[in-house]
């Protein structure tokens, strides 16, 4: 938090030296309106995460997405990340909730990576208009296997890094 605050302050000072006060205010008004716009979505994301943590049955989640869930768990995580609506304010609270109710690092990595790479939210709203259809579609096609691979790699490394803990987690 403090590092970031310092970084922001230094950057703002540099903008001020280069563009003067209007430059600083320009960015401020733009970003404040952006902030106001996403606040309701942040609230929705937090509520979604809290509801999911509360209503999902822990034993089923750890069976479907836990360390013993195999390829199926990674595929479920990938599918879940791909269909999850909203931006980072939804994906991270939900991923955090999944971790809390028994999903392992592998399945959660598959979910987060799938959300960033093949989730439709960012692709439809920003990538298509800016990068064009051809690039976007090929980028998504090439990305399709990556969430499962990242989840598998994550699981592989995790078990070797935290082998004692991994044994405790697996029921």
């Amino acid at each position: 938090m403090i590092t970031i605050a310092v970084l922001v302050a230094v950057s703002a000072a540099l903008v001020w030296r280069r563009d003067g006060l209007p430059g600083v205010l320009d960015i401020l008004t733009h970003d404040v309106s952006l902030f106001g716009g996403i606040l309701p979505r942040v609230l929705a994301g937090c509520l979604l995460g809290a509801f999911i943590a509360e209503i999902l049955p822990h034993d089923k989640v750890s069976r479907a997405l836990g360390p013993e869930s195999g390829l199926k768990g990674l595929l479920i995580g990938t599918a879940f990340g791909a269909i999850l609506p909203g931006g980072p304010f939804t994906a991270y609270p939900v991923a955090s909730a999944l971790l809390a109710v028994g999903a392992d690092f592998g399945a959660t990595i598959a979910m987060v990576v799938s959300w960033t790479l093949i989730g439709y939210g960012r692709a439809v709203a920003w990538e298509l208009p800016i990068m064009g259809t051809d690039f976007t579609l090929w980028r998504i096609v090439i990305s399709l296997p990556l969430p499962v691979l990242a989840g598998a790699l994550g699981r592989f490394v995790y078990v070797r890094m935290y082998s004692a803990k991994g044994a405790d987690d697996s029921e």
Partner: protein
């Protein structure tokens, strides 16, 4: 902006759907999750305020030419590696990475390099890790996920080179 509206509708629709399930489990479950969600929201607001309002300044002092120069035309694996570093260094935000990627494509950057850049930025833009992921998730998970993600922009570039697309 109709896409944004659609996303909002789906988002709140999902909240309503899981809320209804919680409600049917009984008022205690509903109240507990509402309180939990509201507390998360209140805790997260200052961090997000700093992130969103601050990222504009950080983006403003990093000149895009620096990043596009790294991507280089036909720069091979060296260009891919530079692209991955550039992607990690690019500020988060939904637009910055795509805009720089688009500029790089137009100014003659190779598509595998631009692909690696966009994917690296999406997977582990350093600023997004700090501002978005760490506040919401256990830090241990965030760093672990970022480390595990490092090979994948390279893999995507390799696939793109192999199939000659996009």
């Amino acid at each position: 902006m109709s896409a944004a509206l659609l996303i909002d509708i789906m988002l709140w629709g999902s909240v309503a759907a899981v809320g209804l399930i919680a409600y049917r489990r009984g008022p205690r479950v509903l109240n507990a999750s509402l309180r939990e969600g509201a507390m998360d929201f209140i805790n997260i607001i200052p961090r997000i305020a700093l992130g969103v309002i601050g990222s504009g300044y950080i983006a403003a002092v990093i000149p895009p030419e620096v990043i596009t120069a790294w991507l280089g035309p036909n720069s091979g694996w060296f260009g891919v590696a530079a692209a991955v570093l550039a992607g990690a260094a690019t500020p988060g935000g939904p637009v910055v990475g795509f805009s720089i990627g688009a500029v790089a494509l137009k100014s003659g950057g190779g598509t595998p390099q631009v692909l690696a850049y966009v994917i690296a930025w999406a997977l582990f833009a350093f600023q997004r890790l700090l501002l978005w992921e760490i506040p919401f998730m256990p830090a241990r998970f965030v760093w672990f996920r970022a480390a595990v993600s490092v090979p994948f922009p390279f893999l995507a570039a390799a696939i793109a080179m192999a199939i000659g697309k996009p």
